[in-house]
Assembly symmetry: C2
């Protein structure tokens, strides 16, 4: 497997584009994106488990039910959530605009939205600009599309890889947006306002695609937290158009799955690093838990703790907060068998052994925790369960960004 | 029922004191408190449900098992949590120092600690100062004791009320500390580093005292959130010495329970208002939910949301975040039957009807949300479940306070 450039356009047959149509009224930024395969695709998706589901989520859930898609249209600047019947009509109309322009069936179009909740979507603007959007489609349009899906994101988050299946070169490409309201919880074929769009030219039947996506999301996006808020609009979409010419995968391929997991984990880490206001990527790893579920619960509780996140911001080796967050996670573990270390490119410092303090250099701990990527490494000696969860620090800028998001 | 002064010393026979003994090495603040009844008390308590329990919690759980206490000794500046066998020995020794000075059995002494986790408690300092602490006991020592239990608290939180039972005047007094690491979760006879100490001269048998306390905590401290972090040291303690001379309560008295609930809710609101960095008390009320449990889950999810809390700080009427937080609460409700209003002394503004936006004045909403006490009022039209949860806004100062707590 090797990393390549091109994002969602890296796989053969995928075109992408992005334009500004004015959904973000006070901004000159792009706000409407389209990703399109020039042939029919197998598709799989997961959507937010939030009971309040955006209109785009409802429409996309229906359109992907048969396992096929050919395009996805995405707007930023408006979540089209809590907008009632009108919102649902608008989301359906958005699919229809794209379908009509692309000369395909509206049921082959997924719809995604991100932005403010509760404001009616100006669907007419999208209608007026759909042909311009179509005209913008290019086989190197990944950068335009990526720009158009961003909200409070400060970094571009895309990746692509190349693998070999059956002697055929296969590509997987992907882009994502997501910075705040990030604590994805995507259930069996549902859940994330993170949006992630993954394309591949592999030939894979829908059921296998779905199986691979669910497994990969469980180990990636569902182990991401910025602020504990699970959005109404989260969506991960995977489209496979088969143009690589491999023998269609009718059961899970290890090579394909591993590449997909790598892509999902890479995007997850990019999102954590770009969490609203974040200065640091914080990885929390638990090893030796009773089982994987316990490891995930423990690491997610630590990564979600406001106190731990604030301590990471301050580069303060306040490990008691780590044990405290483990203690209220709901997972079973023995505090008296808990070891905690802080790691980064500046080295490693153990701060807790068997649930108690060990002498350590505060200066060294400060150095370790002052890096841009830090890891809280917990080992438990109770079983084989291990998991990593990705988050970020809690900073003044998170408060600033969210104290007045709408203006 | 009327409010009176005196805090924990308002009920007859209770003495309190507080001194500085040097547990907070770099501070001149008081750090050691004692509350004592000059006779034997019925007692009830609830402790943190965190799996990591401070040594003080373990010792107090054991000492209260028989339903009787006569004193509680409290230190601030050190949580004595994650300190192993030595920590447990220190907590037992702390009870013994107090017991020896007061000439009572160590098992009649509860122990509470609050402060940094993972640092050995300097128990010798407490031994050297125990006689000074005893000498400081007075029947108006509530203010000294209260000062000595504070950590990041900026406001003194105490209350007392007078009621009549059987024609006898009965008093309930209380003090609390708690500002950060506040998301109490106290289970049947367990849970909260909030500390709350309640005294009464009512005569109540231990089982009834316990029943009343559990019921009151469920509707007060367990509906409080500052930052979602459930501490290792939380404790609510209630001691009843019977000196009011009422006929001992052998079943729940409505008058007594109502007064106790009032005291607990009052302390809860004081803690929310004094949450770390808070500029506002935020009450989230849900009415018309399927049942009380659903109402509590929904309101707690909204009050805990970092995005809602940041919007409260910015006085931004971003009601979409309210619906979003309800949606991931895990409680059942119909988003399309949800109404949301913001209320304060500056008036009321409805922002959402039947799950959708309603036209409202942004200026008026800003005025309403700019007050020091605001309410997010949600009504659901689904049943009779209602609950209020108390929290605060998320501010720059929360990040500042917790970015480097230990120094």
């Amino acid at each position: 497997m090797k990393e390549i450039s091109g994002g969602v356009c890296a796989p053969k047959g995928f075109l992408a584009g992005g334009i500004r149509c004015g959904i973000k009224p006070t901004s000159q930024k792009k706000d409407l994106a389209l990703v399109y395969s020039n042939n029919f695709c197998s598709a799989a998706a997961m959507f937010t488990a939030n009971k309040v589901k955006a209109a785009s989520v409802q429409v996309s859930m229906a359109n992907i039910a048969d396992g096929n898609l050919q395009a996805v249209i995405v707007n930023s600047g408006n979540a089209n959530a809590c907008t009632g019947e009108e919102g649902l009509k608008a989301a359906k109309q958005m699919a229809k605009y794209a379908a009509d322009a692309l000369l395909i069936d509206p049921e082959l179009v997924a719809v995604a939205s991100t932005g403010v909740i509760g404001v009616p979507l100006p669907i007419d603007i999208i209608g007026k600009n759909i042909n311009a959007l179509k005209a913008n489609l290019r086989n190197d349009g990944n950068a335009d599309a990526l720009e158009a899906i961003m909200t409070t994101d400060t970094r571009k988050k895309e990746i692509a890889v190349e693998i070999e299946i059956d002697g055929k070169i296969v590509h997987i490409g992907a882009m994502t947006k997501g910075s705040g309201m990030i604590h994805p919880d995507m259930a069996a074929a549902k859940h994330a306002t993170m949006l992630a769009f993954i394309t591949t030219d592999a030939a894979v039947i829908p059921s296998v695609l779905n199986e691979c996506l669910q497994k990969a999301v469980k180990k990636s996006f569902n182990r991401l937290t910025v602020d504990g808020d699970t959005s109404t609009n989260d969506m991960v979409l995977l489209m496979a158009n088969g143009q690589a010419g491999n023998k269609p995968l009718v059961k899970e391929s290890d090579v394909f799955y591993k590449a997909l997991e790598f892509v999902c984990v890479s995007l997850t880490k990019m999102m954590a690093r770009d969490g609203e206001g974040a200065t640091k990527l914080v990885t929390v790893t638990v090893n030796g838990a009773l089982d994987e579920e316990a490891a995930e619960k423990l690491s997610k509780s630590v990564a979600s703790s406001s106190l731990v996140k604030a301590a990471c911001f301050g580069a303060d080796a306040n490990w008691g907060r780590v044990l405290c967050a483990m203690g209220y996670s709901g997972a079973d573990f023995n505090p008296e068998k808990t070891n905690v270390s802080f790691k980064s490119s500046a080295g490693e410092v153990q701060v807790c052994r068997d649930g108690m303090t060990v002498p350590f250099s505060e200066d060294q701990a400060k150095r370790v925790l002052s890096q841009e990527e830090i890891e809280i490494f917990i080992s438990l000696k109770e079983g084989n369960g291990c998991a990593s969860v990705w988050g970020c620090d809690l900073t003044y800028d998170y408060v600033k960004i969210n104290g007045d998001y709408r203006s």
